[in-house]
Protein backbone atom coordinates (compact mmCIF):
# COMPACT_ATOMS: atom_id res chain seq x y z
CA UNK A 1 0.00 0.00 0.00
CA UNK A 2 2.87 2.34 0.80
CA UNK A 3 4.43 1.64 -2.57
CA UNK A 4 1.10 2.30 -4.30
CA UNK A 5 0.71 5.53 -2.39
CA UNK A 6 4.21 6.63 -3.27
CA UNK A 7 3.60 5.70 -6.92
CA UNK A 8 0.45 7.80 -7.05
CA UNK A 9 2.13 10.74 -5.33
CA UNK A 10 5.13 10.48 -7.64
CA UNK A 11 2.93 10.33 -10.73
CA UNK A 12 0.91 13.31 -9.60
CA UNK A 13 4.04 15.31 -8.87
CA UNK A 14 5.60 14.45 -12.23
CA UNK A 15 2.46 15.46 -14.11
CA UNK A 16 2.20 18.69 -12.12
CA UNK A 17 5.82 19.54 -12.88
CA UNK A 18 5.31 18.79 -16.56
CA UNK A 19 2.25 21.01 -16.58
CA UNK A 20 4.28 23.80 -14.98
CA UNK A 21 6.90 23.43 -17.72
CA UNK A 22 4.19 23.60 -20.38
CA UNK A 23 2.72 26.76 -18.89
CA UNK A 24 6.17 28.33 -18.73
CA UNK A 25 6.77 27.15 -22.31
CA UNK A 26 9.94 25.27 -21.44
CA UNK A 27 11.43 23.04 -24.08
CA UNK A 28 11.27 19.80 -22.11
CA UNK A 29 9.32 16.60 -22.56
CA UNK A 30 7.68 14.42 -19.94
CA UNK A 31 10.15 11.62 -20.61
CA UNK A 32 13.05 13.94 -19.90
CA UNK A 33 11.58 14.71 -16.50
CA UNK A 34 11.01 11.11 -15.45
CA UNK A 35 14.21 9.67 -16.89
CA UNK A 36 16.16 8.27 -13.93
CA UNK A 37 19.86 8.90 -13.82
CA UNK A 38 21.80 10.62 -16.56
CA UNK A 39 22.53 14.31 -16.73
CA UNK A 40 18.93 15.16 -16.11
CA UNK A 41 17.23 18.42 -16.97
CA UNK A 42 18.92 21.74 -16.23
CA UNK A 43 16.87 24.19 -14.28
CA UNK A 44 15.35 26.31 -15.51
CA UNK A 45 15.03 24.44 -18.80
CA UNK A 46 15.51 26.39 -22.03
CA UNK A 47 12.39 27.97 -23.43
CA UNK A 48 10.72 26.67 -26.55
CA UNK A 49 12.13 28.71 -29.45
CA UNK A 50 8.86 28.35 -31.40
CA UNK A 51 6.86 29.85 -28.52
CA UNK A 52 8.58 33.21 -28.71
CA UNK A 53 7.78 33.68 -32.36
CA UNK A 54 4.33 32.11 -32.20
CA UNK A 55 1.56 34.30 -33.55
CA UNK A 56 -1.81 34.78 -31.93
CA UNK A 57 -3.51 31.39 -32.15
CA UNK A 58 -6.59 31.25 -34.36
CA UNK A 59 -9.84 30.52 -32.54
CA UNK A 60 -11.30 27.09 -33.17
CA UNK A 61 -14.78 28.46 -33.85
CA UNK A 62 -15.74 31.87 -35.24
CA UNK A 63 -17.61 34.11 -32.83
CA UNK A 64 -20.71 34.25 -35.00
CA UNK A 65 -21.18 30.47 -34.73
CA UNK A 66 -20.42 30.31 -31.03
CA UNK A 67 -23.98 30.90 -29.74
CA UNK A 68 -25.78 28.44 -32.03
CA UNK A 69 -23.12 25.81 -31.49
CA UNK A 70 -23.42 26.25 -27.74
CA UNK A 71 -27.19 25.79 -27.95
CA UNK A 72 -26.73 22.74 -30.13
CA UNK A 73 -24.19 21.29 -27.70
CA UNK A 74 -26.63 21.91 -24.85
CA UNK A 75 -29.44 20.19 -26.74
CA UNK A 76 -27.22 17.21 -27.55
CA UNK A 77 -26.16 17.01 -23.91
CA UNK A 78 -29.81 17.14 -22.79
CA UNK A 79 -30.80 14.40 -25.23
CA UNK A 80 -27.84 12.27 -24.17
CA UNK A 81 -28.77 12.75 -20.53
CA UNK A 82 -32.38 11.82 -21.25
CA UNK A 83 -31.35 8.70 -23.16
CA UNK A 84 -28.99 7.76 -20.38
CA UNK A 85 -31.77 8.21 -17.85
CA UNK A 86 -34.09 6.23 -20.06
CA UNK A 87 -31.72 3.29 -20.02
CA UNK A 88 -31.37 3.32 -16.26
CA UNK A 89 -34.83 4.47 -15.17
CA UNK A 90 -37.36 4.51 -18.02
CA UNK A 91 -40.35 5.57 -15.90
CA UNK A 92 -38.59 8.43 -14.23
CA UNK A 93 -37.02 9.69 -17.43
CA UNK A 94 -40.30 9.55 -19.35
CA UNK A 95 -42.18 11.23 -16.52
CA UNK A 96 -39.54 13.91 -16.33
CA UNK A 97 -39.71 14.52 -20.06
CA UNK A 98 -43.51 14.74 -20.01
CA UNK A 99 -43.35 17.12 -17.08
CA UNK A 100 -40.84 19.29 -18.90
CA UNK A 101 -43.04 19.45 -22.01
CA UNK A 102 -46.12 20.30 -19.94
CA UNK A 103 -44.19 23.00 -18.17
CA UNK A 104 -43.24 24.47 -21.53
CA UNK A 105 -46.84 24.30 -22.81
CA UNK A 106 -48.28 25.96 -19.74
CA UNK A 107 -46.13 28.96 -20.41
CA UNK A 108 -47.69 29.46 -23.81
CA UNK A 109 -50.89 31.65 -23.67
CA UNK A 110 -54.09 30.14 -25.01
CA UNK A 111 -53.35 26.58 -23.98
CA UNK A 112 -55.74 25.50 -21.20
CA UNK A 113 -54.27 24.69 -17.85
CA UNK A 114 -54.83 20.96 -17.99
CA UNK A 115 -53.27 19.16 -15.06
CA UNK A 116 -51.08 16.14 -15.67
CA UNK A 117 -52.70 12.73 -15.49
CA UNK A 118 -52.54 11.31 -12.00
CA UNK A 119 -52.08 14.68 -10.33
CA UNK A 120 -54.44 15.62 -7.52
CA UNK A 121 -55.95 18.35 -9.62
CA UNK A 122 -56.92 15.90 -12.34
CA UNK A 123 -59.20 13.99 -10.00
CA UNK A 124 -60.85 17.15 -8.68
CA UNK A 125 -63.84 18.83 -10.28
CA UNK A 126 -63.15 20.55 -13.57
CA UNK A 127 -62.66 24.27 -13.29
CA UNK A 128 -65.79 26.12 -14.41
CA UNK A 129 -65.42 28.46 -17.36
CA UNK A 130 -65.24 32.13 -16.44
CA UNK A 131 -68.61 33.87 -16.14
CA UNK A 132 -70.55 30.75 -15.27
CA UNK A 133 -72.17 30.60 -11.90
CA UNK A 134 -71.05 27.65 -9.85
CA UNK A 135 -73.73 25.14 -9.13
CA UNK A 136 -75.40 25.46 -5.82
CA UNK A 137 -74.12 23.08 -3.23
CA UNK A 138 -76.38 20.10 -2.76
CA UNK A 139 -78.77 20.49 0.06
CA UNK A 140 -78.64 18.04 2.88
CA UNK A 141 -81.84 16.56 1.60
CA UNK A 142 -80.26 15.94 -1.79
CA UNK A 143 -77.30 14.39 -0.08
CA UNK A 144 -79.62 12.03 1.64
CA UNK A 145 -78.72 13.35 5.05
CA UNK A 146 -81.36 14.33 7.44
CA UNK A 147 -80.27 16.87 9.92
CA UNK A 148 -81.08 16.76 12.58
CA UNK A 149 -82.33 13.29 12.36
CA UNK A 150 -85.89 13.54 13.28
CA UNK A 151 -87.55 10.51 12.00
CA UNK A 152 -91.06 10.84 12.93
CA UNK A 153 -93.72 8.46 12.21
CA UNK A 154 -95.26 9.04 8.91
CA UNK A 155 -92.21 10.42 7.17
CA UNK A 156 -91.57 8.21 4.29
CA UNK A 157 -88.27 7.74 2.64
CA UNK A 158 -89.69 8.00 -0.88
CA UNK A 159 -86.64 6.76 -2.58
CA UNK A 160 -84.18 8.50 -0.22
CA UNK A 161 -81.60 6.65 1.64
CA UNK A 162 -81.77 7.56 5.27
CA UNK A 163 -78.57 7.77 7.26
CA UNK A 164 -78.17 8.15 10.92
CA UNK A 165 -76.56 11.53 10.74
CA UNK A 166 -75.92 14.46 12.97
CA UNK A 167 -73.64 17.44 12.98
CA UNK A 168 -70.77 17.67 15.40
CA UNK A 169 -67.97 20.26 15.45
CA UNK A 170 -68.48 21.20 11.84
CA UNK A 171 -68.45 17.59 10.70
CA UNK A 172 -71.38 15.62 9.57
CA UNK A 173 -71.31 12.23 11.12
CA UNK A 174 -72.93 9.60 8.97
CA UNK A 175 -73.30 6.15 10.37
CA UNK A 176 -70.51 6.85 12.81
CA UNK A 177 -68.09 8.14 10.17
CA UNK A 178 -67.07 11.79 9.98
CA UNK A 179 -67.79 13.19 6.55
CA UNK A 180 -66.97 16.75 5.61
CA UNK A 181 -69.90 18.10 3.62
Amino acid sequence: MIAIGFGLAWFGYSVALYGYCLVKQYDVSYLDLIKPGGPGVPWPPPENPDAASAQQPQPIVDEQYLAPLTMLAGAVAAIATFLGGLLTDPGGAAGGAVGAVEGLLQGIPGIPNVPAAGSPQASATVKAPPGATPPAPPTPKQQGVKQPVKQAAGLGTSGWTVFDAHKANGWTVIDGRNVKL
Partner: protein, 83 residues
Protein backbone atom coordinates in the same frame (compact mmCIF):
# COMPACT_ATOMS: atom_id res chain seq x y z
CA UNK B 1 10.37 -3.45 6.90
CA UNK B 2 9.58 -0.38 8.99
CA UNK B 3 13.25 0.56 9.15
CA UNK B 4 13.47 0.26 5.38
CA UNK B 5 10.50 2.51 4.86
CA UNK B 6 11.88 5.09 7.26
CA UNK B 7 15.26 5.00 5.49
CA UNK B 8 13.46 5.41 2.17
CA UNK B 9 11.66 8.48 3.46
CA UNK B 10 14.91 9.93 4.75
CA UNK B 11 16.57 9.41 1.37
CA UNK B 12 13.74 11.17 -0.46
CA UNK B 13 13.93 14.01 2.07
CA UNK B 14 17.67 14.38 1.46
CA UNK B 15 17.13 14.63 -2.29
CA UNK B 16 14.34 17.16 -1.89
CA UNK B 17 16.34 19.22 0.61
CA UNK B 18 19.37 19.39 -1.67
CA UNK B 19 17.29 20.46 -4.65
CA UNK B 20 15.45 23.04 -2.60
CA UNK B 21 18.82 24.47 -1.46
CA UNK B 22 19.76 24.82 -5.12
CA UNK B 23 16.40 26.53 -5.70
CA UNK B 24 15.16 24.01 -8.19
CA UNK B 25 12.46 21.35 -7.92
CA UNK B 26 13.53 17.72 -7.57
CA UNK B 27 13.16 15.93 -10.85
CA UNK B 28 10.81 12.94 -10.79
CA UNK B 29 13.58 10.90 -12.37
CA UNK B 30 15.86 11.60 -9.40
CA UNK B 31 13.18 10.54 -6.95
CA UNK B 32 12.59 7.40 -9.00
CA UNK B 33 16.28 6.55 -9.09
CA UNK B 34 16.49 7.00 -5.32
CA UNK B 35 13.51 4.70 -4.86
CA UNK B 36 14.98 2.10 -7.19
CA UNK B 37 17.71 1.18 -4.74
CA UNK B 38 15.21 0.85 -1.92
CA UNK B 39 12.90 -1.28 -4.06
CA UNK B 40 15.77 -3.74 -4.48
CA UNK B 41 16.39 -3.62 -0.75
CA UNK B 42 12.71 -4.30 -0.23
CA UNK B 43 13.04 -7.52 -2.18
CA UNK B 44 16.06 -8.40 -0.03
CA UNK B 45 14.05 -7.61 3.10
CA UNK B 46 11.74 -10.53 2.34
CA UNK B 47 14.57 -12.85 3.27
CA UNK B 48 16.81 -10.75 5.49
CA UNK B 49 14.98 -7.72 6.82
CA UNK B 50 17.67 -6.69 9.27
CA UNK B 51 20.35 -6.75 6.60
CA UNK B 52 18.19 -4.72 4.22
CA UNK B 53 17.45 -2.13 6.87
CA UNK B 54 21.12 -1.87 7.74
CA UNK B 55 22.12 -1.34 4.13
CA UNK B 56 19.36 1.24 3.72
CA UNK B 57 20.58 3.21 6.73
CA UNK B 58 24.11 2.95 5.40
CA UNK B 59 23.01 4.42 2.09
CA UNK B 60 21.34 7.30 3.90
CA UNK B 61 24.46 8.05 5.94
CA UNK B 62 26.65 7.91 2.85
CA UNK B 63 24.35 10.27 1.02
CA UNK B 64 24.20 12.61 4.00
CA UNK B 65 27.96 12.90 4.10
CA UNK B 66 28.10 12.89 0.32
CA UNK B 67 30.40 9.90 0.38
CA UNK B 68 28.18 8.00 -2.01
CA UNK B 69 25.91 10.40 -3.90
CA UNK B 70 22.53 9.15 -5.09
CA UNK B 71 22.09 8.30 -8.72
CA UNK B 72 20.98 11.44 -10.39
CA UNK B 73 22.97 13.81 -8.24
CA UNK B 74 24.79 14.67 -11.42
CA UNK B 75 21.54 16.23 -12.58
CA UNK B 76 22.21 19.32 -10.57
CA UNK B 77 23.72 21.05 -13.55
CA UNK B 78 23.43 24.79 -13.36
CA UNK B 79 21.44 26.68 -15.94
CA UNK B 80 23.47 28.02 -18.83
CA UNK B 81 24.54 31.59 -18.31
CA UNK B 82 22.74 34.16 -20.41
CA UNK B 83 24.39 36.32 -23.05
Amino acid sequence: MKGLIVAWGVAEAIVIYRRAKEQRPPMPGELLATSGAFIVLGILAEGAPALAATIAVGIDVAALFEVWPFAGDGASTPAPAGP
